[in-house]
């Protein structure tokens, strides 16, 4: 039955998904809010934010840079353009100026010797803090001092929120998520409609709002408003494994424009309901959709006391990897040679290296590593929201050429990614460069290669789901 239904193409191809989203992203600029506060308050807000967020770690990093120039060799944006201003060390200059005048033990001296920071300095830093830093952390791998520039840039993003200098696209999405609780309009209703569509057209059941479930799964705006195949694939896999799972309509969104823009109050507004929902249903596992930055937003956020939570958070690739290692995935072999791109947020800044590779192994893939892989992987150029920024188009396009070169060197036919942002950025690069490689999502690849036996659908629980969340 399902085989027949599956042949009907209800959802668009990812090529179309990208084109559709690109149109929507283009409209975000007009929706961006204008600054509302006075220049003095914006400047004071930015400076105060940095002062508040500066602990010993940040201070040591800011103190340690010796301008040795090593980090420039590691940054894809510098490598792609050769322009001095994109050197990672430059991205902490303004933070250091504020630090020296306001926090440093020698601040009395620096106040005498340096000129005050102006709002204009923050305006000029916008390109460095958003467009040209994906917070990928590659520069930390070469820095002889081990400075974590990405963390410092993240604090700068928080300052930019206070200075009302968030780039228009991120600003529009931040305000949408803050005011309406949606991203690109993906509301609980959108989720329900998508679940209905998947049930009707593909015969795949998605247990929504169960009272109790072992595994709580998140989705993401990209899957709900554009790429239905993502959620469909997730559902197929969950049902294939026969796990007791659910999606909660009051905590389903992986995307967190609080974290991306630097607005940590919005970050909390998004993260808290997810944690609350997982606790309410007694979940043992929370699976984060293929949405790279959701991993640091939830699993690794230093402000989220996850050690004390009764459930474990993991990224989709980690979940799949563990299932593969446990032999719970019955898979047809994957044809052709493939390589794997570690998303910055789940790889170098997340540590989920083994699991996606275990999945590819379970798929029997002819797998080849990229020349620079795992901790040393080159960012695709689209991370930390950069994929959305029109002003960053040239930086993205130029730096993606590094990725093309790397993938071509492997001789693989396809590159597998496990992050919607990376995938969209790869798709953009593929289309713009008429690149002859396939870009596959790990979760969709697994779903497409499942050998389906009897599919256990959590029907028994569907009845008591109604009205569970009102």
């Amino acid at each position: 039955m399902s085989a027949q239904l599956e042949t009907t193409q209800v959802f668009p191809s990812f090529e179309q998904v990208y084109q559709g989203l690109a149109g929507q992203i283009g409209m975000l600029r007009q929706m961006a809010p204008e600054p509302t506060k006075s220049e003095e308050r914006r400047l004071a807000g930015a400076i105060n934010t940095l002062v508040e967020e500066t602990n010993a770690d940040e201070a040591v990093w800011l103190e340690s840079c010796i301008h040795c120039g090593q980090c420039t060799t590691a940054c894809h944006f510098f490598q792609a353009t050769g322009e001095a201003k994109y050197a990672p060390m430059r991205k902490m200059d303004l933070y250091r100026r504020v630090y020296r005048r306001e926090v440093s033990p020698l601040r009395w001296l620096f106040k005498l010797a340096t000129r005050p920071v102006k709002l204009k300095d923050f305006e000029e830093a916008q390109e460095l803090i958003y467009d040209s830093c994906s917070e990928c952390g590659r520069c930390t791998m070469v820095c002889p001092m081990g400075i974590d520039t990405a963390s410092l840039v993240h604090h700068m993003r928080s300052a930019m929120v206070a200075a009302e200098l968030v780039p228009p696209e991120l600003s529009a999405l931040r305000m949408e998520q803050k005011n309406a609780g949606t991203v690109f309009g993906s509301s609980p209703e959108t989720l329900k409609k998508m679940i209905d569509t998947i049930r009707t057209h593909y015969g795949v059941e998605i247990p929504l709002d169960l009272r109790e479930a072992e595994v709580m799964v998140l989705s993401s705006a990209v899957d709900l408003v554009a790429n239905g195949n993502g959620l469909l694939a997730t559902a197929r896999i969950m049902n294939h494994i026969g796990v007791d799972w659910t999606i909660c309509s009051d905590g389903f969104e992986s995307a967190n424009f609080g974290l991306l823009s630097g607005d940590m109050s919005l970050w909390r507004m998004q993260a808290d309901p997810i944690v609350a929902a997982a606790q309410r249903i007694g979940a043992k596992t929370l699976v984060i959709a293929e949405c790279g930055h959701a991993y640091p937003a939830l699993r690794w956020n230093p402000m989220l006391r996850s050690g004390a939570l009764p459930f474990e958070m993991m990224y989709m690739s980690e979940f799949l990897g563990r299932q593969a290692k446990a032999g719970k995935l019955r898979l047809r072999p994957l044809e052709g040679k493939v390589t794997y791109h570690d998303p910055c947020k789940t790889g170098r800044r997340g540590g989920a290296f083994d699991e996606p590779r275990a999945v590819l192994k379970a798929l029997g893939a002819d797998f080849v590593e990229l020349p620079a892989n795992k901790e040393y992987n080159w960012c695709c150029g689209g991370g930390a929201g950069i994929f959305l920024l029109e002003d960053a188009t040239r930086l993205r396009d130029e730096s993606f050429k590094i990725k093309i070169r790397e993938v071509n060197e492997t001789g693989a036919e396809a590159v597998v990614v496990s992050c919607a942002s990376c995938r969209l950025n790869f798709e953009a690069g593929r289309q713009k460069n008429h690149w002859d490689k396939r870009v596959d999502s790990l979760v969709e690849l697994v779903a497409d290669h499942l050998i389906d036996g009897p599919t256990p659908i959590s029907g028994k629980k569907a009845a008591d789901a109604e009205g569970a969340v009102a």
Binding site: T54, N55, A56, D57, A59, V60, W61, E63, S64, C65, I66, H67, C68, G69, Q70, T72, T73, A74, G82, E83, A84, A87, M89, R90, V103, S104, P105, L106, L109, T140, M141, V142, C143, P144, M145, G146, I147, D148, S151, R299, W300, N301, P302, M303, L304, R305, S306, G307, L309, E312, R348, R349, G350, G351, F353, A372, E375, Y376
Partner: protein
């Protein structure tokens, strides 16, 4: 008071007080700041401790970056080792340290001291040449050049005094001591403090990444 007496007396003593007090203020002032706790669950319970190995492992660039960083790394090592040996292992310096602390140890023969001083100066020049030839990589500031000059001066004047070139020996020696005093006094306010920071910076990054199961 002659210039040499001034250099050997108040100048060098004042500079050493500034060096010690300034370094302490800057180190303690920073390290006494609160540390933001990472509340997230570590990937591996004892994994964080593995992060401390970054203090040692970062002493040499990983294979991924060997080619692009080898010139700088090699020159920096040559410079640091040669300079350190000159500072603590030539006879006149040991005598000065003995006069301050009472401690003493055998010194290197003069010719080795001169060779090391020359090597230190040549490697320092090699480093500034690269900095000058690749401005886009280094993003140099005025502070970078000032620091270079302040580090180079004691080496140049020391070698000149030893070789009896330039001004009268006593004057050259006074200039050498004064330039060293300048270096000591400048140290706590400059990037030279990396001599201490590298330990903390590497350790905290190593631990932050090890928390997530990543070895940097």
């Amino acid at each position: 008071m002659t210039l040499l007496e001034f250099a050997r007396g108040p100048a060098i003593h004042a500079s050493l007080i500034i060096l010690v007090a300034g370094s302490m203020i800057r180190l303690v002032g920073v390290l006494a700041l609160t540390r933001g706790a990472d509340l997230s669950r570590p990937r591996d319970v004892f994994g964080n401790f593995k992060g401390y190995r970054t203090v040692f492992s970062r002493a040499w660039p990983s294979d991924e970056f060997t080619i692009v960083t080898r010139y700088q790394t090699a020159m920096a090592y040559v410079f640091h080792i040669a300079t350190l040996l000159v500072v603590v292992a030539i006879v006149p310096h040991i005598e000065f340290i003995t006069s301050l602390t009472g401690l003493s140890w055998p010194g290197l023969p003069n010719w080795i001291g001169v060779a090391l001083g020359t090597i230190a100066l040549v490697s320092l020049i090699a480093l500034i040449m690269r900095r000058l030839s690749k401005p886009e990589v280094y993003n140099s500031t005025v502070g970078d050049y000032v620091t270079w000059i302040i580090v180079a001066l004691p080496l140049i004047t020391g070698l000149m005094a030893f070789a009896h070139v330039g001004l009268r020996y006593e004057t050259m020696l006074a200039l050498h001591i004064l330039s060293s005093a300048l270096l000591f006094a400048y140290f706590p306010f400059s990037k030279l403090m990396h001599a201490f920071w590298f330990l903390f910076s590497r350790a905290q990054s190593g631990v932050a990444y090890a928390h997530k199961g990543v070895r940097i």
